[in-house]
Symmetry: C2
Subunit: 260 residues, 2 copies
């Protein structure tokens, strides 16, 4: 048995009988057998509100111009976030690791899961944490969620070679960079390489078994496997304008430059 930890699994698929829910079920069983405590957010079952709007900020003056970032900051600081958002933040704070289970739709998050980030990762909670005298906020390797781990578990309708380094869709890890780097690492989390099941719409039963075996390995490595070595904003690789110093990743193109 490993040391017991708290794990949050966020699942986003409209069908309870989906492959995505089956993978979450497999993760639940596997992690429980390791002695971990699993908490879940099944977004469709929760009828998660996907969109940011004025209803998120009931303390704002009626009829005033809504500036979502500023309103989010006031609500966070005053403890006046809506109960659904506050509950998800509490789950995140209690978690040692977060798994996000979703189908890749148009090479990104389904709208409902994007809306989970848009609403739960509020200003003053997940961003905007600027220390007195600091030029930039604490982010990219620092922040409220530092020390936690994150794993994306995705299903795709495409074939694996199409998502390879030179595949027509672009490399899967680069397509997910706005989430792994721009959202999760942004808040301080250590992000594991993503786990993917491809050709998910035509997965025969024996391949589901194999996918579970591969996923089991990844779940066993949730706290021990190396995370993606994204460079820390304040780790000495970026200049005062937050551009990579000339000697760092010289000649590298694309997101690779931001991995050490």
């Amino acid at each position: 048995m490993s040391e017991p930890r708290n794990i949050l699994i966020v699942t986003c698929h409209p069908e309870a009988q989906s492959l995505n829910h089956a993978l979450t079920g497999h993760a639940r069983t596997t992690l429980a057998a390791l002695g971990h405590r699993v908490v879940e957010s099944d977004l469709y079952a929760m009828r998660w509100k996907a969109v940011v709007d004025g209803l998120d900020f009931p303390a704002e003056p009626q009829g005033a111009r809504l500036q979502p970032g500023a309103a989010s900051r006031r609500a966070t600081d005053a403890g006046r976030l809506t109960p659904d958002v506050a509950a998800e933040q509490a789950k995140l704070l209690a978690a040692d690791a977060v798994i996000l289970q979703f189908p890749l739709w148009w090479f990104g998050l389904p709208a409902m899961l994007k809306g989970w980030f848009d609403r739960v990762f509020s200003n003053g909670f997940a961003y905007g944490l600027t220390a007195p005298g600091a030029r930039y906020s604490a982010r990219y390797g620092e922040g409220r969620l530092a020390g936690k781990r994150a794993l994306l578990s995705v299903t795709t309708g495409g074939l694996a070679p199409h998502f390879s380094a030179r595949g027509v869709n672009g490399a899967l890890e680069d397509l997910l960079f706005p989430v792994t780097h721009g959202t999760l690492f942004y808040t301080g989390m250590g992000v594991l390489p993503s786990f993917a099941v491809h050709a998910a719409n035509r997965l025969p039963d024996d391949l589901f078994g194999r996918a579970c075996e591969a996923y089991t390995q990844r779940l066993h490595g949730l706290f021990g496997d190396p995370v993606i070595p994204y460079r820390r904003q304040n780790g000495g690789d970026y200049d005062d304008n937050l551009q990579l110093l000339p000697g760092v990743a010289a000649g590298a193109q694309g997101f690779t430059a931001h991995r050490g």
Copy 2:
């Protein structure tokens, strides 16, 4: 005056008094002055339904397992998409160019706009168009929307250097690749380099004027400026597994390899 064309502007921001709506207003005026016909989708004003769920497919058997891709295909082929989706598809088909105006939230689309793509870009309309005998579907430079142009107009809360080629956030055009390449070019559209207004939360009035001037230039070039030279799936650069041939973009890393 240019030759009159049909232009669809899709705007996604919860506040009608927002910078995003002001930029859409500027585009409306500028394009009308050029003699173009502008049609708009103001997603928040329309209370656009962001999430894919069973309500999108009323013709599916009650209680049956929902497979969103397959259900989308049946609804598209049978002309049984919901009226809101069908109306957006009709606007797209009538448009010569599409402008998407949105704030960059967590380095991607706001949930509501992601949900516009998730629902409007249905199976049989935007993907899944496989000719008899073809190994792969017609996409990446071919498809139902071929010949049209697309432009992303984004506002960000960050600073321009942070979105530069070696900036800490990653290059803006790479962050948007899942939309520009994976969604718009996927359907056959020619995609212009994205237009961005940075530091949008602290934009003084004179900088709004300057942003409009820069945007005017881009709007004037909507049909004449060169598009991003993404490689066509069936243009001879990819092998049978849709990976770039060894001699193509040799040594290139990241999404750059998919630009000619």
